[in-house]
Symmetry: D3
Subunit: 241 residues, 6 copies
């Protein structure tokens, strides 16, 4: 089985970390194809960063599918362009936010999310709501740190996250925590051990979930919202008329 993981931003360090964690958690028979969106913003912090990176990411998805991918993972917690990716790909597409939220709902009755910058809170709240968590997601919290700083200061990040997890436990009654940034992937086990709380990482969740859906033999339905893009002048992968 071949799983394509695309980092929609252009940070080489984050792509590397994503690849390492994915490799640690993928099944024995799985081949990983890790890419990043060349030319995309170096991190995704807000709607415009998403908008700029998505067309580049869609190219990676098309190329990976041509190389034989059985499923695709979008490794950014905003799940940018996930619906478009489901149109472009024949094979299943899993976002790390959707994956970790669905796993949190299987393993806890109430959870909280901890992300990087406060500006991402409404974005993630809306995503989590769209994925149907409702009031089972108690709160989306932030450590007020830019994405790239997370990558550069793992020790400080871990301390801030541990403190916020303790707050989520005490104030929200959270039974589990979802890490709200692909750049936090590597800290998951450590935080779980230190805090005694189930901490869920989206890259881990998405890779295994992608394998599972491939194993079920299902693909994205092409009968409605996720039908392939129509051919047209200026359309994806086509010359402008």
């Amino acid at each position: 089985m071949r799983i394509h993981i695309v980092n929609p931003n252009s940070s080489a360090g984050m792509t590397e970390q994503i690849g390492l964690v994915a490799a640690r958690y993928a099944s024995a028979g799985t081949t990983l194809d890790v890419t990043s969106a060349t030319g995309a913003p170096s991190s995704i912090e807000g709607y415009t960063d998403e908008a700029v990176s998505v067309p580049l990411m869609l190219e990676e998805i098309r190329a990976a599918e041509a190389r034989g991918a059985d499923a695709h993972v979008i490794a950014c917690f905003d799940d940018p362009g996930i619906a478009a990716a489901r149109e472009v790909a024949e094979k299943p597409v899993i976002g790390i936010c959707e994956a970790s939220v669905r796993v949190a709902l299987l393993l806890s009755s109430r959870f909280s999310v901890v992300t990087t910058l406060p500006r991402s809170i409404p974005i993630i709240e809306d995503l989590v709501e769209a994925y149907g968590a409702g009031r089972r997601c108690r709160r989306v919290r932030s450590i007020d740190m830019p994405v790239l700083a997370v990558e550069e200061n793992p020790e400080q990040t871990a301390q801030l996250l541990a403190a916020e997890i303790a707050l989520a436990r005490r104030e929200d009654g959270a039974e589990a925590i979802v890490l709200g940034c692909a750049g936090m992937t590597d800290l998951c086990n450590r935080l779980s051990a230190e805090t005694g709380v189930l901490v869920i990482d989206g890259v881990t969740a998405a890779v295994r979930l992608a394998e599972a859906v491939v194993g079920m033999g299902y693909r994205t339905s092409k009968l409605g919202a996720y039908a392939a893009p129509l051919a047209k002048a200026g359309g994806f992968g086509q010359a402008v008329a």
Copy 2:
């Protein structure tokens, strides 16, 4: 990896069919431990059937965990006793309704469910709502056939299901169909081929999802609603004072 699948009813035929489909879709390295709730109703059609079967099913879950299960699948579409099972087990518990709904949400933007008897429609509607599908589940439909008749008349069942799937396509705009009974498991591929619609089976979905969660290394959080039952007179697995 060892996955325990419990059929909460006592129908041997259904347990056998569930085991066969599970074996077809489980990963190479997975050992299946298929049980049924001895003494339970022969089928589960309504809240009382659920209530009677659940304590018996919980015994199977405890016993299977003692035998080394890494995860548990509840193979009845009402997901009976799923919250209690999450208290009793240390390992993840997956219901086939929850599994198939979460997979349907990954692969389609709108889906419908087709079940057996009309009396199960409100039960399933409430479950699907609790799992966060909201209006993405267009409608829960029934073929007005008892559970055991489904098992005994696969040909007639397949025809009724195909007709209902066509209605779901035309009237609901459903992009995918979830089969709303463990007894329909064996018809999934055939219906998908005949109707051209993505048809999702809960047993298939739950077995692969259970493997995935085990592979992630996560377990049910014991910090809140799913903490182990407290020891007390008359409590689960204890003598009455």
Copy 3:
């Protein structure tokens, strides 16, 4: 009129207290038939306790209906097995959570619930949501005390409840309080007097509500979800085939 009140747990002290409060609030012409589920857990704190007690409670309901009950009250705040009880009984079934929530909605625009253990908070939140309170239930709070300790330490319980009611008033803007445990029944009037807040007890509410529904001449609809359980091997009240 004959009202059957079943305590789904096996605590004799709690059954006695429930019976005393019910007798204080029942109408002159009402005969009370108070039972408890023999062999059930001594208290209900979580989903497994519920699951174990429900089949035993259903037997009490069937027996009481044979003795001529005109309605049934389930005297545990989790309303365990209420849907199954509505299938088994011909006569109306009222749970104390549902009764007190519906009364709170008639008498206040915003209310809070105070229960025993924190693990019951998500259970009650989900119930209150299912009963349609939405954001009119501001918050479900707990005094972090096991059910049986409530019964054994009424003085300490009353002080903890009064403190939590004051918090609900100040932090939640609660206009009324629902007591979230049958074991708190006896403290209702005292707390109302001490705090100046409308405090609602579920046993009181359910007994009077049961009388009211009987007086209207209505019974549970048997046309859908609450139809009588189907006769089958292993079914409720039947021998296993």
Copy 4:
């Protein structure tokens, strides 16, 4: 016990019918005080009719409370002015829409409402939603007949209602029906007998519910939204400055 029933419109015939049904269903020890809002519209069909009748109805509530009422019933299915009545009265106030919806939720898992004119459908949908029925109210239907015509043509009304109830049964899967107009009160038993469906009348439900709440010993909370109106120039019951 003394229950005040106010018909917010000025139709003498409807007031009489309401009084007769209320007398049939009230408990032995209950004294009924039936009034109507003098000078109000002859029927309430829309928001303006409600707005005009409410201040007149509030006068009746204040006068009845001075005469010793223990509770008040608003006998119009739009529950006009119910929140204001809860401010003005010290004693509980029950609307017939709220009463019948809450009773329908106790006795069925899904129900539909049948009212008079199509223009009332959105009004009732919003009320039923505010009372928390959510998707458990399948649909609000109308027989397209003005309120006063209902009163004048009981035979034709009964036939139209029976036909609509049959549709609600077949198309909505309704397990119970709520009659959406105080003028249909007298037809309730007949429709229940003819259609085999549980049919719920709001006057019946509200009178017994009012008795129940009085019996519980509870009153409307005055700590928030339903506090008594503040004294001010032009305020209710006061001279303009």
Copy 5:
């Protein structure tokens, strides 16, 4: 274009202030027709004050429409009688709560409301929910000051509002603030300047929104809920039979 603005209370000072702010923000070609409901309560604080003022306000709307109004603004933050006004008027009717909430949703992703008395919090919460803000309205706050005191003590009011806005910023993550009382209109710009937060005033929003809808050429649909009141004895604007 002629915009009618009705203050549903009888406070001359508030009517004057509303007129001044409206004049400051109306377009060059707009004529303002500012009225108040003669004989109405001097301020609107609760449901009864609303109920008493609405019929008087509807008379003002009918009279203004006869004078040639192209649209109507209801200048009280509870939007009292807005649905009835849409029945009575042929021309569009805009409430200041609805206008400011809709504008806040265009200009921010999360906002809070600050009003006068705590008793108005549930009223405004329900309105804001009915207008579809959902969780995008973080919280409705109050400065615990009666409406008329706001008018009499602008300096103290401004200080209390600034403090509450700072709390909304810090605790709610509010990106914008809606002022929850027509009497605060005049403080809007000052508060925006002092706090650095976008502060939205309902009178300003409603006047410009009314102009916009008139400019679009649209009127209230008369095909359903907002059809003109039916002629009947005791009906609006008609003699009692």
Copy 6:
């Protein structure tokens, strides 16, 4: 006042039609600056078309703001990239779907939307839900016609729309209709006249709403989700590092 209207697709015909309707409805003092996203797909039918057009559209918004725009209108019914546009622009941004939904909610209690292709139905349902219409939007319907065919066959389009509006009236009880495609703009008045139903066009609504917000003196809050994009390698308007 200067309003920038951007057509996010590259169809010259549609841009021209949008400009004509906008000019017909804009206020006397308003200057229109109508652009289209050069190189974008010739029509927007699905998520991928949106994703490809959005970065190009954001460039138009930035350029128009540099030319002095006071507000921006996104003239495609999917409101593509509206959140990103609110980050990029200092001035208010109005989408035609959001504008027409908010206007429909001011002028009717229940409405339906009619769009082009069935694949757009889930997209629009999700938008309308996000804008808070809830069940007040009865249904999103389609005439099963591609966007460019709408432009090329106005007569056939008008007939199909009129037929669908009649269905929306009869089956949905819709009091108003929102046209779900910028290419239908020119048919609005004709359809309103022919069907007798209030028909709302998004371009008309958005232009006037943009003028209104500018007139209020408000701008998008930059304190949270809509803060300007952060400067970074690969970010919008910046060279890749």
